[in-house]
Each structure stands twice: as structure tokens, then as C-alpha cells.
Symmetry: D3
Subunit: 305 residues, 6 copies
């Protein structure tokens, strides 16, 4: 065998020196997450996933927790799961707060106190959060003719998962950790194809069927018993721009959907308009103006050529 | 350092007592998966994922199994993989049957026998299932100008994965374990963004390109050689309601798509209508009435303002 | 307890003999990945995921790498991560090249040399790739009123992930390993619901918001500073067919989108048409003809019935 | 490159047919764990290791459990850990009972009841077991001049681990699952080099220093406050043989060591003899006859040549 | 809080530059595993552990394999396990052969052929190896009054594990891969405290009780039905030195132990002497001269002072 | 099937309330690791194992690190591995220091500074430590006629592993973290059966063959080129007791072994005696008095009865 025989691929010398130099130069010139001379540790997507799983297990131990729990063992499980989960969450909250513009972030003690206070409030809101989620599951059972049991809705419906992630994310958003809320929301989006901004306000008994492609924007407000199908967009029509042409952040720009509205697949509802209570918005409808309560909006038929 | 120094976050006392009590109260008042005094163990999403992976590996050992199999070793691999997989499946079937309304579920022996019989039938249908899947892969190779090899179609096309999950889910549905079928379907949905109800009937040589947002409803019937693009909906127009206003479950309400139909991206086809053989439905078309064989349906152009 | 008591399910005999025989027959009759008498080992989805994670960590160590890196430790991390990652990549490139029609694949030495050369070029293009990705992140920060920090965009935006996967996939495609490129693209698609063909050419400062359902076809060309919303399709109108009726692969058939174009949610743009620089395409627009620079295309309103 | 180039090793055909046949023949002719036509599932070493870890964590949550437990969280942790651990243990007990000669093992219901009763008793004896282990740790702290804290003794002394495994194994032995007890003892042996038969009876405040090579036989009886060093054997002198020359199992044949005895490294004490209270047995001593209380036994010096 | 507050420990700069330089200098000056300009990949302890586990599972599927195998599934399991295991082994053999002084190791093709041939022979000897191991287990059952079942001996006796590792290691040694043999032997030693050189020749029906501290040297030869207890040494008395004072490697220097010999705990037998058939060597005996068949050697008693 | 049918074991109610109460009572009455009102987090055995593996990989990248490193990649690997490892170590040092009696442990800032300083010193001593370990490996190669290569000695000799653990443990002991040192030593003991107190002082070119049962005490001092065999004890004869009868900790009580001494298997050397340079101590010798340089000590023969 001659000398051309290839050595095993692992021993290749990749001549990385100039590449590493160029990457360092690129890092230093373009963006820099050091703040006042210190690297800020980022929240961890993996740990947040564990947090959501832990909270889910504590809220619904039989469906999302451990099999074979019984009346005696269940509270030990809930208590231990919550302790582990809140210990994890408080550290993530602390990291996220460092990115909060309002905080003097090098005051570590203050930061730690804030993180603990927020996590406490999060824990305290869990029973109410559970009640909301139960209303959502009941809405799904009532709203989908294909659903046959609560277990099926909790295990097999992406809408259930998306709403669970949203309600947790919204709680974190409300408590003052928007970065963490956004990360939780994105994990839910990745799992389900349903994209709900954590700042969106959504009433009880909410149901999303199929769900892929649903988008609900930052300032959207949904009432009670709203039902959505796949690919519904509750979006912004245009973005307000300030005197300098820069985007104005946070301004109300997404729809208000009142109680008992049903929006069918592919409908697009844009701008700070109001869909009146009890309305039905048909599939693929494109709507940019408010409609009164009880409206029934549908789109024109395609033609057969 | 003064006494305000924060202890390490882990030692926070979360005062969980009242929260745990409230969660218990919420659990007890709202829903309860005990049945005749006994908790019913739920099927496991993780184990079902292993089951699908095991079946895939047994059906297509070179693509979804282990590298370096050869003519001698391949049957040992297939045999051992099937044994492990069927042992796992039979336990999941048993759990799912407990949720079946028709069964006196506390007859454990009957349940175990049913689970074994169903799993046996599932195993026996694998060769036919493989033939169907081969026809699907061939359809993809023929139908996508960007596809260059069978390997690429099997490894890189979400449509392939979605159809694989559907064919397994449909088989489980047909054999009488709809809950399990639904769970398998939802795993496939989460992986691909393609949502096919396990009860939908789909002929051979089926191809879905891109696929995100496709929805195929419970009572849809698709013929041979159907081709779909992303965001196609084969849905229900409205839900039949009984005399009491309750949804009627299981009634035919989704389209029948005959052989050799192509449906382009974003088309929405609703209701128990028939799309005649050989028809082409254009992108974004909204269709709620039957069209005869050979139809060519498209939508109006947008206008340039 | 009588003799009918079911043995533990694990000891079921599944009578696999005929099933295994039928599967073997099916394998042998239908498709065969042996080439010139030899099985070709397939690229591994898991390893490619590790490769993308490794490259991401080397490009953006603070966001996608390891917490607590500092000025001293960061280059060791980048260097070691790249070495591991390139060693993994070169083996995947070698496997993928075996599926390349142009290569005499049983010339193992040639194949290994090609794989090493390609991986070297891939490594050399990383600094330029990083610059492109930085431009994309800046575009997101500028373009989304809901975005509050670079960290949020890098951790919480599916668009960021989709573009990262695309830029790596496109680089592999350009270097001559289209199969690997396709696999990387599909992993990105599965994570984000955004489907970009690796051959598509996309300029800097690219931003996709929400993103679920976006499809960008094989021969699409996008200029600088293009912005897309969810469910936008840049697709083919029809597939060119050759004299024998077979699909012509690789022909230009997807849109050209010039610099500074914004395309809103659900717009469908089909065929080798050109969207002129600075144009805005409204939500749900269906466009199959070129529009000049500065166009503003929107669709008709739905009617309220 | 010529045709002699070796294919990748993975594709070797190993011609396993005759080997597999020969192994089957060997299995069938030599030993057979089927009992009355049924395979008996064996206890699992891995699960038993988890059980021991779980019990250890419940007994000593701060040292062997989870960091950062506090007064509020600790009982949830203990309760949840015990529930999980006992659920695992009861299944292992059930498997082990099948190997018990006294049981009609095909009475599954009886077996399950026995397993539950034994596991209940095991749980009930945990507080007493903890008290014994605390006495052992105190003895170590008092007995080793190199020991500086309880934490050091619990984390760094193989003797502590060996005694922990023994006390759990002995409890299982006493409750009627000798097979499980033996398996627990062997795991402890493998971790520490200290080999204590689970049937051996050992009083409180027991300390083994260094420990490698210690052997304590099945019928040995040790009093309170015994201290052993490495390589001490408390063994059998000879094995009683019955009229047919077969070994008589279970007969008393190992030493009785009374309270407050110290036995230095390498001493070998054989047969059913008694080492009187308060005796000291020197290093390397070979002892096969009883010694009265307060004895001081040492061996002759080596000579310098 | 003042500026002395410690940053989180992770951001410490360790000033590794000079340390890394010094380590490189040390590496380059002292020893170098490159051979003819190439690094030789070392065998992997982890993979060898998998190989031993795989072989054990194939030899004794019920005890060391998977629970719930039955007459139908067992051969698939054995076949698949062997294929995976031999594929792993052949790569380890190839690596080890590179360290063999007799081979021109840069002839990769020759090396690969040798590795395959050796692995084939290893596979072919498995049935005979199983027969030997069965004889060992029977000897344990017969020889230990505390043993109550074959299952107990296979799962709970370190001697069983040590002999299993030895018989596999010896087979590899005999087939010409002494380095691999040594590594397998050392894994067994670490698990059991029993140290048997892989070159030692040991007849059937071999039993080691307790075993910690047993050492059997490279050139030892043991007959049939030998029984050893813990801490027995079959060692070398002195090492032959050549004319230059260098150790002569491989010369016979350990004992020959004939059939049916029993050697009790702590006995030390040194040098190329012969222990005649049927002899009994007492505990702690120090023996450096041959003894005729039927001897009964014991040591003097210690004295009670 | 009647109502006696056992429910699945998992749903057993274990009635843990009184057991948990009793365990709490036991915890509170017996020992308490809270110190000044705060729980002190314990060092982690698992993390320390990672630290030792990391240091080993940095010291000997080819043998204990990653395969396929080359001249270019090796320093990146060493640098990154050290950074990760030292980040882990500094946290363990900090935890261990809390158990140090000399420190006011609630001064967190001081503690963190000490931990960093110690870890820095540890890092700085690595090159010297490597030189020592290289001398040990060379001694093994020279001293064992069965050894055939450096790779064999580094991968297959428990003595090599034991010395590696000792040299790291001794370094930590010297730097003022005896608790951590003890934990590292115990991990090494568990892996090898060789028990070396981390405070023992051992010169270069140290070799232990076989090694099971070796014990080297806290105040032992060994010179250069010492060679030990299995089961050698360098122990204390008696423990000094103070006026109150309490053990005096730390007093010199173990042997001094001068340069070039060989001690054969099973020898026991006790007390603060000196074994003169160049001496040979025979197997099983029991020695409690100093011997001059060049001594040759052996024990009497056993008798053949």
C-alpha cells in the first residue's frame, strides 16, 4: 500500500489558528454581552424546559407526573417536585433579571431578593393557574367532536401544550421577567407550531384545535371561551414609528377578541380592532376592521376554472 | 459582610403548605382519572416514540436501524428489534384499552388477552404496511424535482416521517386502540407540523411536500397517488349538533379526495365533499363544494396597488 | 387463581418467523441501498445535530456555548469545539459523498481526500458566515418592536435558528454535499416549522418573524435586508417537464426577491418572477407575476355577512 | 487502490449460524431457569442499586440525598423518595420470592401479597435501622484518629458504605428474601472490597477501618462496639458434611465476637469459636480456638535475616 | 456591597498559558505514543466493557441478557447481540494489534485482516467457553454451603464474574491480542478485587469464594476442580534477570496447581513449584517448595499472650 | 376473576406518615450538619470524579483524553479541559473549606478567595505532578516483567490509577483541603482496592503491583523508587491517647520507608519505624521495629503436616 493511503480522518490538522483569530475579531467588533465589565450568564433553555415539566407535573401529577401515585403519595410528590422546580426557577429568574433595563444589575443581593420574591409569587399563583388550565381542557372536550376523554386532550392535543406553556409564560411576564417568559413561549412554539406572545392576555376556557401556524401577538386581548383553529393570525397591521423613524415598542397594535368568538383556520385578523362577542370569523378571512358582537364573517369562494 | 447577604438560593423556604393544599382541593374538585376506585396508568409518550422507532427500524433496517447490517446479520436485528418493540407495545395497548368505553376494564385477564391479540395483528400487518410506505417513498421520488435519492427522501423529508407515523397510527386505530393511535399521531405532528387524524383513510403512493400546516381530518378519505403541499386543510365545514345541541362525534364531515388529485399549498377544502379523480386544486383555494373528476380549481389574483 | 391467568406480557411468543420472511422479501424486491455490492453508510441525523450545535457554539460561544467563558478561556473552547466538530463533520461528508452521482465511490482514498478538502473549506468560511449571521440578528433587533435584546433574539426567535441552520446548510450545499445540506435543513425545519431549501440564495440582514409555515424553494434568490412573516411561500408555480414527461430537476422555478422587500404573513409568491427592490407584499397575497421595485401589493378584503 | 482494500469492519459477516446453534444446545443441556414451564424474571442489580441509593437518601437526606434541602422541603423529599424506592423494592421482592423454595410460586396473588407485606415491614424498620447506622458513624468518629468530621466519615469511608449495605441486606434477609439480601451484599462488596454475608448478625457501633479484604461469614455473630481492620476474616474452619458427603448448608460455623473486641488487620478467625468481650486480636493472627474475655492475642515476629 | 464582592466562580481566569506550555514540554520530552509518525488509537475501556457485557448476554441470555426472552425470541437476541458485539470487538482488536511488536503496523489492510480472523476465532470458541463457565458455576454450587441456586451464583458471586472475565481475557490472549486481554482482566479485577493474569491457564470447574485479594500470576497453571478462597496469592518468588540485569519477561515463575486442590484464605504460594493433586493448603500458609499429591499444609498457631 | 386480584404494585399505599416522623425525630436528635444556622453543601463525589478525569485527560491527553488528538488540536483540548475542570474544582474546594475548622465560614467572600487561590496553586503544580507520574510509569515498566508497553501500564494497572489518585489527593491535602483530598483518595480506593491516605508522602518512581489490599497510613513517608506488592500494610501500631484517653489525631505513627525498598505481598509494617534504604521485606512479614539499610527480612516457612 503506498504512501497516499489516507490516515484515519480523526488525525486531520484543521489549521484553525487563523479561523479562531478571525472569529475572535468578529466577536469583539460586533456584539458583546459583557455589561459593565462582566459577562451576564444567560438563562438556560434546558433548565426552563425542566421547570415547565416540573410545574406541569405538580399541577397535573397523574397526567404529567409519575404513574402510580395514590392518595397518600401524591402530596409528597407534589411538594418535592415543587421544591426542586422552584429552586431551579429562582436561579433562572435571577439570570433573566440581569437583562432587565430597570435594574442596577451589579447589586447581587438586590437581584437575589427580587428573584426570590418573584418565584414566591409564581408559586402562589399556581392554584389559580391550574383552575384556568382545567377550564381550557373542559373547553377542548366540549369543542372537538373527535375528542373522547380528558386524558386524550391532555396527552395528544398540541393546543393543550401550547396553552400550558402560554399560561406559565404569561405569569412570568406579568411578574416582571419578560425574557424568561419569551423563552418559555418559544419552547412551546417549537413543540407545537403555535406562537403566542407571552404578553398576550387570554381568558379562560380557551381552545386551539390543530394549531400549527397560529400566531397571537404581544398586545392581543382574548376574552372567555374563545376558540381558534390552525393558522389563525391575530397580528399587527403596521408598526408605529416615532419621530426618528424608529419602531415604537409595546404600543397596542393587535386585536381584541371578545368572549365566545370562534375563528376558523387561516383567518388573519390584524391591527388593534375589536371582534365583538359571539362572532364567528370564517376560514381564510382577512380582517382589518372591527366587527360588532354576533358578526359572521366569511370570504368569497374560489372559482372552478 | 452584613447579615443581609443572601443565602444560596437553594435553601429558600417556599412555604408550600397552602399551595399544596389548594392544588389538592383543585384536583379533587375538578377532574379525576380514577375509575371504579382505581387509577388507570396512562400510555407513555416516550415509550410510544421508542415503539415507532423500533417498528421503523424493523421495516427499514438500513435507513432507520443500525449502520453496517449485512445479509447475515439483518434478520437477527429485525427479529430482536421486533421482539423488544412488541413487548413494549403490548403494555401500551393494555393501558390504552383501559380507557376504552366498551371494556369492563377491571377484568385484567381479558384486557391482557385483548392487548396481546391486537399486538399480534399489528405485527402481522407490518409487511403490508411496508409495501404501502415503499409506494409513498416512490411517489416522493417521482413527485419532487428537488429529490435526488431514496435515502434523501427517507432521511430529509418531513412528509415521509408524517406518513410513517400516520400509517402506524391508522393501523392502531383500525385495531381498536384509538387513544394510542392519537398519541402516535400527535408525536408525528410535533415532529413535522403535519397533523393527520389517525382515523383518516389514505391510499398508497401518498406524497406531502414541505408539509408544515397540513391538516387532514378524522373522516377524510384519500385515494391513491394523492399529492399535497404545505398548509393544505382537509377539514370539517361545520360540526353536526344533536337535538340537545351537543356535538355529534364521528359523523362523516371531511372531504373525500379521489385518486391522482394534486392540492397545492394553502388550499382549504371543507366538508364531506368529493374532489373528483385527477383534479388539481390551486394554492390558497377555498373549496366547500364537490368538484367533478378532472377539475382544475384556482383562486383569483391579488391586485397591485 | 386458575390456569388462565395471563403470564407477564413480556413472555409472549410473537411468531415472528413469517413476518421476518415477508419483510426480507419486501426489502429485496423493492429498494436496495447496496451500490456495487456494498452498503453505503448513511449520514447520521444525530451526529449532524451535534455538528450544528458545535459550530453554533464556536461561532457564538456565549450564547450557544458554555456559560462562564472569559477572555482567557474562550479561545481554548472555540479551538477544542471546532476540532471535535470538524472531526465529526468530515466523517459525515465522506458518507454523503458516497451518494454523490459524480463520484467513483469505491475509491476510498479519493473520497476521504474530498471529504477533508470540503471540511477545510467549510471551516475557512466560518468567519464570513458569522458576519452574515450577525447581520441577521441586527436585522431582527431593528425589525421587531417586541424584541428587547440581542440575547432574546438569539435564544427565543425561531427565525434566528432557522437562518442559522440555513446558512450552514447552504454552505455545505455550495461545497458539494447536497445530501448533507438537505439533512441539516430538515433538522432546522423540524425545530422551527420554517422550511428553507439549502440551495436557496439569501443575502445578509435577513429576518423571519414567527416563521411557522414559511417555505423557500430550491432556486429562490433573496437580496439584502429581506423581511418575511409566518406562512410566506416562495414556491414554484409549475414543474418543467422534459420530452418524456419526467420532471426536470434543478431548473430555476422560484422567485427572485430583491433588496429591502417585506413580505407579510401568508403571502404566496410562485414561479421565477421578480419582486422588485423595496416592494411590500401584503398578507395572504397570491402573486405569480413580477412586480417592479417599490410595489405595494395587497389582497381584497373579506366581506362581513 | 486494489481490490484487497478492506471494507469497513462493520460489514463483516460473522457466520454465526453454527455458533448460535451450539449455544442453544449448550443452554438446553446444561441449566435451565424455567420453573414449571415458566421463566422466572431475575431481580435487577441496577434497580437494587437505585433502591439502596433511595433508602440512603431517605435516611440521610443531607449526606446521601439532595443538596439544599431545608426544614420545609426535607419531609417532602423523604416521602417522595421513599414512595419511589418502595415501589421499586416491592417488585424486586416479588421476583426474588419466586426463587424461594418454600413458595408455591405460580400463585401470583399470594406472591404479590407477600412482597407487599415484606416491603411494608422493611419500611417500618427504617427508623431503627437509622439509629443503628448513626451509632456506627459515631463509632468511626471515636475510633479513627484520622477522621475529622461526620461528613468525612459518611462520604469517604468504605467501612461506612459497607455497613450501610450490610444493614439493609441483613434486614431483607431477616424478612425472608435471602436472594435479594445476597445481591445487595454483593453490590456493597464490589464497591468496598468488604464482604459481609447478609445473614451475619452485627451489633451497633460497628466500625471497619480501611476494610479491603474483610470477610464476615454467614453465621458470624458480632456484639456491640466491635472494631475491625482491613483483611480480617471471620470464617469457617471446615464445612460440615452429611452422611452422603454433601455439604450441610446453614450450620453455625463462623465465630462469635463479643462486645468491645478489636481485631487488627489480617487476622484470621475461623470456626464457631468465641472471642470474649473486650479482647484484642493482633494483626495477622491465626485463631481457631475460643479465647476468654479480655484476651490479647498477637503473633510471633518475623526474623531479620 | 463593596467592590470586593466575589464574581461567580466560573468567570475566574486561570492563567493557563504557562501551565499548558509546561505540560506540552513535559509530554514531548518524556513519552510519546506516536509510532513511525502516527498516533496509534488506544483500545477503549468502555467499549471493552460493552464487549464483555455483550458476550455475557449472548452466552447466558437469561441471567446476563434481557428479561422476558422466550424460546422464540432468544436466538434473535443472541444473534443480534453477537453481531453488535463482534463488530465492536474487531475494532478493538485492530487497535490493540497496532501495539503488537511483531506487526508491521502501517500495513492497514493486513492489520484489518488479522483483526477479523482473530475475532472470527473468538466467536467460534464461544460454545466451548460457555461449557467451561457452566462447569465453574456447578463447582460453586457444589462448593459453597451458603449458595442456594444457580441464579444466586451467577448474580451475587464476585468469583463468577472474575472467572468470566478471565476466561474471555485468556481467550483473547491465546488468540494473539495480549494488550486487549490485559485490559479485560483489569476491568474484572476492578469489579471484584480478584486479579488473574490473562495468560494464566485454568482448568474447568474452578471456584473462588469471596475472592478479594486473590492474585494469580502470568505463568500459573491450574488443573481441574481447583478451589481458592480470598487473598490467595499464586505468585513469583523472584524475577529472573538476564546478563545485563534486565528482567526476563515471560519465563515460567508461578506455581502449577494440579487437579482437585483447595487453597484456603490468605495462603501465599510462590515460584514455579507444583502443588500435587488433591492437596489442601491451609489459610495464611507461606509455601515456596513443591508438595506431593495429597499433601495437607497448614501454618502454626498464634499464641495467646 | 375475584376481588382478591392484586392491583398493580405501584399503587400500594405505604403509610409513610409515622415512618417519616420517626426519621425526622432521629435526624433532629442525632446529628446535624447545620452550622451557625445554615446547611453546608457537601462536596460531590460525582463532580470530583469528573475533576480527576479532567485532570488526567489534561495531563495525559492521548491516554486518558480523547482519541485522535494531534499536534495542532492537543493544546486547545488541554486548555479547554483545564478550564472546565478548574471551574468545577474551585466550587468543590469552596464547599470543602466550609468544613475547615480554621475558617470563619460565614465569610463567603473570604471563602471564595481562598478557594480560588488554592485552585490556582493546584493548577500551577500540574507540570511537576505530571513529571512525578511519568517517573511512576517508568518504574512500573522497569519493575514488572509482565508489562510490555507504557500504554498497557497506563490503561491496565490498578497501581497506576491508585498513584494518580493519590498524587492529586496529596496535592489537595497539602494545599489545605483535607476533606476533598480524602474524598479523592476514597474514590481511588474504591476503583483499585488500594488505600492510600492523602497525607502520606511518597517519592517518585513509585510502583505498586497488583495492589489489592495495600494500605498506606496518614503519616507514612516513602522515599524514591519504592516498590510494593498486594496487601502490604504500612500502618499504625497503636494510637497515642491523650490524658483524657481520647485519640491524639495527626501524630506520626506510620513507617518511614527509605529509597529503593521493595516490600513483597502481605507484609505488615507497623509504627513509626524506619525501613532502611535498599531493604527487601519478604512476603507476609510482620515488622514493628526499624531495620537498617540493606536489610533482607523474611518470615518462617509453614510446615507440611
Amino acid at each position: 500500500m503506498n504512501s497516499d493511503f489516507p490516515p484515519s480522518s480523526g488525525s486531520v490538522q484543521w489549521h484553525l489558528g487563523p479561523i479562531i483569530d478571525a472569529l475572535r475579531t468578529s466577536r469583539e467588533s460586533t456584539h458583546n454581552i459583557r455589561h459593565q465589565g462582566r459577562v451576564r450568564e444567560l438563562p438556560s433553555r434546558d433548565v426552563l424546559t425542566q421547570v415547565v415539566n416540573g410545574v406541569s407535573a405538580a399541577l397535573f401529577p397523574t397526567h404529567y407526573g409519575r404513574p402510580d401515585l395514590n392518595d397518600e403519595s401524591i402530596d409528597y410528590f407534589v411538594g418535592d417536585t415543587l421544591n426542586v422546580t422552584l429552586d431551579r426557577l429562582v436561579e433562572q429568574v435571577r439570570r433573566a433579571l440581569r437583562f432587565s433595563p430597570q435594574l442596577e444589575e451589579d447589586d447581587e443581593a438586590l437581584l437575589a431578593n427580587r428573584a426570590r420574591a418573584i418565584t414566591h409569587e409564581f408559586a402562589a399563583s399556581l392554584p389559580a393557574l391550574r383552575a384556568l388550565l382545567v377550564s381550557d381542557v373542559q373547553a377542548a372536550l366540549a369543542g372537538d367532536p373527535a375528542a373522547s376523554s380528558v386524558a386524550e386532550i391532555m396527552l395528544c392535543y398540541p393546543g393543550t401544550i401550547a396553552i400550558l406553556y402560554h399560561r406559565l409564560a404569561h405569569c412570568l411576564h406579568r411578574l416582571g421577567v419578560p425574557f424568561l417568559a419569551r423563552l418559555v413561549a418559544d419552547i412551546g412554539h417549537s413543540l407545537t407550531g403555535i406562537d403566542i406572545h407571552p404578553a398576550a392576555t387570554i381568558g379562560g376556557s380557551f381552545f386551539i384545535d390543530h394549531g400549527t401556524g397560529v400566531v397571537i401577538g404581544e398586545t392581543a386581548i382574548l376574552g372567555e371561551r374563545v376558540r381558534l383553529y390552525q393558522a389563525v393570525t391575530l397580528g399587527a397591521k403596521r408598526f408605529p414609528v416615532d419621530a426618528n423613524g424608529a419602531l415604537v415598542k409595546g404600543a397596542p397594535r393587535h386585536p381584541i377578541v371578545e368572549d365566545d368568538v370562534v375563528i376558523y383556520a387561516g383567518a388573519t385578523i390584524l391591527g388593534r380592532i375589536t371582534v365583538g362577542a359571539g362572532s364567528t370569523i370564517g376560514g381564510n378571512v382577512w380582517l382589518t376592521q372591527s366587527v360588532p358582537p354576533g358578526s359572521n364573517v366569511s370570504q368569497a369562494q374560489s372559482r372552478n376554472t
